[in-house]
């Protein structure tokens, strides 16, 4: 007997995307924290610091929304994938995919689709809560929406690729659970999400500047805040070119790690 040749990677990728979305809605507990965290934080910090101002007529809530939006993107991409993929490897789900000859790209495509949908819906809820619950203005015009769009897309892409990469670094599911969320939390404090970035100690800023979240946060501020607020930034500008460069560099770093080190099993 002769076995029929396997279908295209695209077909399997689409089936993976459908599956990932179905699982997201079927078992929301697995991702609900990544998904709901920014919204919960907005409600808490927005309520406590309702009347605080940072600088240049910008309220604390106005400053906080872009930061927590950036955090949300990091959580639904980097954290959700980093933890989830390590778990799937630990439970042998990836070994099953390997046994079926699944193209890795089809698997990644499914994960990326999940990130796209969860991130988009999360940002939509966040912006609506910010706008109608805390009077935070949305991006002012088409140009600012465009900035929001490319910064979010690049951030989610970097987060997706690095989430897959970090699942490789951690030896098993327990390590991933112990390593990934702390990284995400520390980066939030260093990157100007909860505190105004320009008022952080220089050493904290120097560390944050290496990682994507700082640039994602700053890029988001450039989409939400009035143009005058750029004077309050450390560099006195929004640094769009540098932001894109840093995020793209991280995408490349993540791709190299995934290409060299992706494996379906814990051991070979």
């Amino acid at each position: 007997m002769i076995t029929a040749p396997p279908p295209s990677a695209t077909r399997i990728g689409l089936a993976r995307a459908r599956l990932e979305l179905l699982l997201f809605y079927r078992n929301p507990a697995a991702v609900i924290f990544s998904f709901a965290y920014p919204i919960i934080m907005l409600v808490i910090f927005g309520s406590v610091f309702r009347n605080s101002h940072v600088a240049g007529g910008v309220t604390y809530t106005q400053y906080f929304v872009p930061g927590i939006a950036a955090t949300g993107i990091m959580l639904t991409s980097f954290q959700a994938l980093g933890v989830r993929i390590a778990l799937e490897r630990h439970d042998g789900e990836l070994a099953r995919l390997q046994a079926l000859g699944t193209p890795p790209l089809a698997y990644f495509f499914g994960k990326a689709a999940q990130v796209l949908v969860t991130t988009t819906s999360q940002l939509a809820v966040l912006l609506v809560v910010g706008r109608y619950g805390f009077d935070v203005p949305l991006p002012a015009d088409a140009a600012h929406w465009l900035t929001f769009g490319w910064v979010a897309a690049l951030g989610a892409l970097a987060g997706t690729v690095l989430g897959i990469a970090v699942s490789l670094v951690s030896k098993d599911a327990r390590t991933a659970d112990a390593v990934v969320p702390p990284i995400a939390i520390v980066l939030q404090f260093f990157s100007g999400v909860f505190f105004v970035y320009s008022r952080l100690p220089a050493w904290m800023r120097d560390i944050a500047a290496v990682f994507p979240l700082k640039w994602l946060t700053q890029g988001m501020r450039s989409a939400f805040l009035p143009d005058g607020a750029r004077q309050a930034e450390v560099s006195g500008s929004w640094q769009h070119g540098l932001t894109a460069t840093v995020l793209l560099t991280w995408v490349v770093v993540g791709l190299v790690i995934c290409r060299r080190g992706f494996r379906w099993r814990r051991t070979a």
Partner: protein, 284 residues
């Protein structure tokens, strides 16, 4: 039969874990369309061997061709021709059995129809059950269904019936027989002798990483089978005479007891199990 007809060809396979040799120079030839059983106790190296043949583990020595290719370099086309039923393959717990089979059907060029698969493995009644809620035996059947879904030319089964109740085991045997009738080559590992004897054309006995013998089940341990035991009761005592020439012994008894019945008289040939246990004992 030339080497081209072999589905699996293994020469001098070796695998070392942390300085311990777990597979120690194994040779195998499995013909296309054959059902071949690797029989051995736990820790004999069966799973390691099969995982190397599946392309999931690296080897430390030896030459292998599985469907004409080195499994360590097997591409998608090759992988599609190989079906795997193994211990550590996870399942998507939040899907129902039916959904899971429907999802994985898309990974194959010409998948078996889902309803037909459910019937073949006896999961029709559990089709709507979430995988999370299946019993161990049901999970095993689902593994088997997923392993044969793509109509593989070569099917690897690593202890496929462990944890199945006797009825499910019989049903599984029937499924394997129908796969064989379609021409599927099957390599299974088992520590159940009756399973190997029932299913396999040939059995390889493996212990401590070495191949002890390869033979059809009824010829296994031919040397050990030469010895029969002639048994009878005389003066209230059981006599047992192991002999390579049982008929000579019987003739002698006929002379000694020309009339009447000899109580409890029997000539006993060793069962497959006796042969197997004797082989393992010799090896250790």
């Amino acid at each position: 039969m030339t080497a081209m007809d072999d589905a699996v060809r293994v020469r001098g396979l070796r695998k070392v874990y942390a300085g311990r040799t777990v597979v120690d120079g194994i040779d195998l030839d499995i013909r296309a369309g054959e059902c071949f059983a690797l029989l051995g106790p736990n820790g004999a190296g069966k799973t390691t061997t099969i995982e190397i043949l599946e392309g999931f583990r690296r080897r430390d020595g030896g030459d292998i061709a599985v469907l004409g290719a080195d499994p360590a370099a097997g591409d998608r086309q090759w992988r599609a021709r190989v079906g795997v039923v193994a211990q550590g393959l996870g399942a998507v717990l939040e899907l129902s059995v039916h959904e899971m089979l429907q999802h994985f059907a898309t990974y194959h060029g010409a998948p078996r129809e889902t309803g037909e698969l459910l019937t073949a493995v006896g999961l029709t009644d559990a089709a709507g059950t979430r995988v999370r809620n299946l019993s161990g035996g049901q999970r095993r059947r689902l593994d088997v269904a997923l392993g044969v879904q793509g109509r593989p030319e070569l099917l690897f089964l690593d202890e496929p019936t462990t944890g199945l109740d006797p009825a499910a085991r019989r049903q599984f045997w029937t499924l394997l027989e129908s796969l064989r009738a379609e021409g599927t080559t099957i390599l299974l590992t088992t520590h159940y002798l009756d399973e190997a004897a029932h299913l396999a054309d040939r059995v390889a006995v493996i212990a401590a990483g070495r191949l002890l013998e390869t033979a059809p089940p009824d010829q296994l341990g031919a040397a050990l089978r030469l010895t029969a035991v002639v048994r009878w009761t005389e003066d209230g005592a059981v006599h047992e005479v192991p002999t390579a020439t049982p008929f000579a012994t019987v003739r002698e008894l006929c002379t000694r007891f020309p009339t009447g019945e000899l109580p409890d008289f029997a000539v006993v040939r060793p069962s497959l199990e006796d042969v197997y246990l004797a082989m393992l004992e010799d090896a250790s």
